[in-house]
Every structure is written in C-alpha cells, then in structure tokens.
Amino acid sequence: MADSVSSACKPSVERTPLNATSFQKKTRNKLLSIPGTRLSVQNGQLLVSTGVTSLDYLLGGGLAVGTVLLIEEDYYDSYSRMILKYFLAEGVVCRHELFLAAAQDHPNDIFQELPDPILDDVAIRKSADQPRLSCEPQDGLDAMKIAWRYQNLPKVQSALASSSRFGHYYDVSKTMEPEIRQAAKCHHFYLPEHPSQSSATHSPMLESYSALLKSIEEVICREGFNVSASMTKSRNILRIGLHSLGSPLWGDDLCCRDDPKHSHALTTFLYGLRALLRSSLSVAVVTVPSHLIQRRSLMGSIIRLCDNAIALESFKGSERKTSPLCKDYHGLLHVRQVPYLNCLASQLPDHKDLAFKIKRKQFSIERLHLPPDLSETVSRVSRAELAGAATVASACGSGNKHLDF
C-alpha cells in the first residue's frame, strides 16, 4: 500500500466559505491528503481512525488503509455491534463513504442507530442565524450558580467543514442527527434483497458471498476508489462494514455443524476481499460470531486471512459471573493479530490482559488489574466467599470487616 500512496497527485484542499485565510499548507506532492486520515509514525502507512481512540492506540495508531479488521463477536453481539457503529459514525464525521452489509437486520436500521458525535470543533450545519450571545444567558443565569462565569463561552458553530482531528468521541445515549447522517454517502447490501441465483461455475464460495463481493467491487469501481483511477477528482476513503459473516443467515453452515460442508466459503471470500482492499482506498471491519464456530483450526485460518484481529468476551455471556472484575468492566478484549505492513516487525501492545468498558461518552480499553483488596485477609479471596462471611459492609463497600485499630 505504501508504494501506491506515493503516486503523484495534487493536494486537495477544501475551500470552506467561512475560512478567512487563503493560506495553503505546502505539502509534498507525493502524499494524498484526505480528511480523516494521517500517516503512521511507525511505517508510513495511511491510517484511518476506527472511531474508538483506545482501539486506535492498540492497533498502532489506527487502521491502515487497505486492511481488514476482524472482530470476534461477544456472546450477544452487543459490543461488537457497538464498535461497528463507532466505525461507521467516524466515517460520517470524517465524510468518508460507507458500505454496510448485513443479513439479519436491515442496514438502514443500523445506520439509524449510529451514536451522536460529541462536537466542539466538528461542524454541524445549524440554522442560518447565529444565536446572539448577549441574550443567551438570560435563561442561563439561574442555571449556573457557581460557575456562572463560564456561561457565555460559545460553542463554535461554523458551516460544514471537515474536521481536522483524528479520532472523535461519541455519546452512546443519543443517536446521530439525520442531517449529519444524510451528508455522508452510504451504500448498503441486505442479503434478503438479493435472491440467490445458482452460479454456473462451481466455486468454493457461496452465492451470498459472491454477490457481496461483486457488490463491493462494483461500488469501488463506480465511485472511483481504485488506486489506479484517475487523480483528477479528490480522493476519499470507503469504509466497509460487514456484520456477522459466517452466521447461518448468510447461508453458511460454519457455525451450525462441527464439520461444515462449506468450510472454504468464508476463507475464500476473505481472500477476495483482501485483494480488493489492497488495490483500493478502502478499509473493512468484519464481525464473525466466533463463539459458535466449533473448529478452532478454521477460526485460526480466518484470523490469518485478516490483517488486524481482536476478540471481545463480555462478562454477561460467560460463566465468570462472580469475578470481582465484573463490577468495573464489561468484558475482556484479546488482541489476536496485528499486521506487518511493509515492515519487519509490528507494534504489539505490551500488555496482553486488556479489558473494556463502555461509558456513555467513551469506549475505553484498559489494562486489566485487580482492584486492591481492602479486607483484613491478605490472600485474594473471591467476592462470593467474602459475601458469605460478611457481617456488615463498611462504608467503603469492598471490605467486609471493620478495620480494627
């Protein structure tokens, strides 16, 4: 991907109406300047944010353009779906194009659930008249009792301009407003809308996967994401989200049987997908319900065929109910694979025990550590046993015996 990035092109600068200066930063002609991307400091790849800043850090700064991120779903598919929505929402905010394929829910339903970005400097198109700042605090004076000096600090509202930040934060409790969402171009592929045609050639791929691959290829060619396409118009990134590949709704019995008949369907599809991505300016996020796949060797080959791979394990579906970690975190995150792209060694995260929790405004991934045990017993006893021996919980909550001085 690095040699294709270095092809000559004119830098494209978006002239915004409110941009007061005519200053244009002198960039080297060799680099593409696409909004929402930056260059990796490790290997010079063009990176795109996944929408979750802590995940960007784990993957070495971001997702490299032309690669696939595989997410192994958690048991109820709640957190992997959340990450897919963050990925698509980041595409809307950076004004990339989106492609979403799903077999279970209609992609438009997923598009309507995208989280709301927290904007201070990302612009949204508000109504034409700017609110007059002097009359605003009349209602607000009673609202702020102590911090009233900060009432008038304005929220920056300008016309639509691309954001210069890499990685944004999203508020999960609200959904993205339709005006912002409709500003981005979205393509979708919903499997029940494509009736299965029996293919003439006997290919190891299923018809559903062939149809999906054809649809992605058609979008890439038509919208000009090919690297070899003409450089006259400004370049953009295509973000591809594929939900729950390998589940029975795609026609694949990978999850249902212990020795599936179509064992090579998904792997052939991933091979073709990666070939398409390497020759175009696109990124893909694929979620696979790996907890249903019984053959671990198959899961291993699926991981090898994708560049980045992470696995989510939520505490809700697993048997570790009594662990004291359940209180602080929502699940564990395992990084299965980080790619070597045009370099000898990749940047692996230095701690392997990671846990995630989803707060309202942030999806945070942290290093796992057990909280300090404040009870008198020195050995680390599990919370269930402590609860059985408890008399009265002290105010600090975790210790169950009074600290005796």
Binding site: Q104, L141, P248, C255, R257, Q294, K316, A387, A393, A395
Partner: protein, 285 residues
C-alpha cells in the same frame, strides 16, 4: 420475568424454550399456548412430535376454537402422501399460507413443536432463513418454539438463540428456568427463576433461588455516632438559603459577563466598612 413473557411477547418476537431429555419443556410450551388463548389470540400449532388428541387433552378448559392445529405428526416425511404437513414444506410461502387461513386482523402466533425435528431434515441455514423471514415479514405475530438442546451441536443451538429475542432454558429438576431477553435497544436481561406448573397449566413462580448474592446494605454512616450529623427539615431549608460567598447579584453577574464597557460595579459586602470619609483626608503630604 417469566410472567412478563407469559403476558405476551412484543411484535416480531421469537421465543425458544430449550429443554433436555431430563426434563421436557412441553408443559411450559402448553402453558404459553393456554395464556395466548386466554388473551383471545389466534394460535397456530405446527406439531411434529405430538398428536392432536394429546395436545387437546393437555389443553382442556381452554378456549380451543382459536387454536388451529396443523398435523405434521402423522406423516412428516411424506411417505404416504396423504396431504398432511411434511417437513419439506417448512418454507416461508407454505407456512405463511397456513397462517393466513385464520382471517383475523392481527397476525397469529405460530407455535412449532419442535424445531429439533425440522433441523434433522432441513439444512440449518435454510431453517434460520425461514424463521427470519417469518419474523420480519409480518406473516406471524410471534413465534414460540421448542428446541431440544442436547440433540444438536452447540453451534447450532447458539446460532438459533442468536435469532431469538427470548430464550428460556429449563434446567434439570424441572423447576429452574434461566431466562435471557434481548430488548430492541440492544440491552440483554438475564434472570433465573423457580417455577412450577399446576394441572391447569398456570405457571406459579416461586421465590428466587437462594444462590443469589445477598444484597450489600450500606450502613448509614450517620447512625451510631456520639454527635448528631443529621439535618432536620428546617435546618435543611436554612442550609439551602445560605448565601454563598462570591455569589453576586444578578446585575453584577450580567455586568461582569458583558465586560465590554469596562464599568466597575461595586457592591459593598456585609463586612465592608463603607465610610464616606476618606481617612487620608487629613494627611498633609
């Protein structure tokens, strides 16, 4: 949560009752049928494992006129081609046709007894696709089905439970049910309940199993002290009314916020000794 499910599923809901050979979930399935009939809803039963007489004997004293029985028990594989429902007919078109036989405004409830039978003879991806289309196409209002979890590999049971909106697993012993509900907002609720089914198929929920963690009660920190830390109501009012320092009047706040004119507004505090006389007046410098 079991009672909420018995009152009715949301539109497009799919309930799976998982049982095993040690305890059959069929009586629980019949209690769901009875609750639906009592709610004046039309129920279609597609029965592969149970004959019509046995079902009707089990459901005595229920309003049976709203129950439509489709016989897939006598000849499911179509050996004698006598016109009963065969397992190859388990596809969207045929099942939707069955459901349309009762001409009511609201789409009926479809009960499948059991899905395991269908999965033995039809490929699982096709079954999943049919169930998904039935759920989303509006042909049936709700789907309730029985699944024998020990007859299938774990992956197949798991992939069917991914399609379902609610799963009830009947544990061995016959009185413990693990319930998982997936709400439309994406939230997942889990619960464990003890229940028993009486002879007339009503479900009686018993107290939760004692394995649940005892709730931690935080001791009231103001309780056992030698001094009084509590506030009475009048004291609380007085506390709210107390004027904080550096809280300015409204005009002063407004003036400070719009400091474009550069005016200085001074309000003498209670402690300020505002003496008009300048003490330096008599300095002779």
């Amino acid at each position: 949560m079991l009672h909420d499910l018995l009152q009715g599923l949301d539109a497009g809901g799919f309930l799976i009752i998982q049982d095993s050979c040690s305890y059959s979930g069929r009586r629980l399935l019949w209690s769901f049928i009875k609750a639906a009939l009592n709610r004046a809803e039309v129920v279609h039963v597609l029965s592969f494992e149970v004959s019509e007489d046995e079902l009707k004997n089990g459901l005595q004293e229920s309003p049976i006129e709203r129950l439509h029985f489709h016989n897939a028990y006598s000849d499911p594989l179509g050996w004698t081609s006598r016109g009963a429902f065969t397992v190859d007919q388990f596809c969207v078109e045929r099942v939707a046709q069955l459901a349309k036989q009762s001409s009511r405004v609201k789409p009926p409830i479809l009960v499948i007894d059991s899905l395991s039978w269908v999965l033995r003879h039809v490929s699982p991806p096709a079954v999943c696709k049919t169930l998904q289309q039935l759920k989303n196409g509006g042909f049936v209002g709700n789907l309730i089905s029985l699944l024998h979890s020990d007859m299938h590999p774990r992956g197949m049971v798991g992939s069917l439970c991914q399609l379902a909106t609610s799963v009830i697993t009947v544990a061995a012993g016959g009185d413990q049910a693990k319930i998982t509900r997936r709400l439309k907002s994406g939230k997942v609720l889990q619960d464990e309940e003890l229940f028993s089914i009486k002879d007339d198929l009503t479900v009686v929920g018993q107290s939760k199993p004692s394995r649940a963690d005892p709730q931690e009660q935080e001791a009231d920190p103001t309780a056992n002290l030698t001094f009084n830390l509590r506030l009475s109501d009048t004291e609380r009012d007085a506390k709210e009314k107390l004027a904080l320092p550096f809280v300015f009047s409204k005009e002063k706040k407004a003036a400070l916020l719009h400091t474009s004119s550069g005016r200085i507004v001074y309000e003498p505090d209670a402690n300020d000794d505002y003496d008009q006389e300048d003490p330096d007046d008599d300095l002779d410098v």
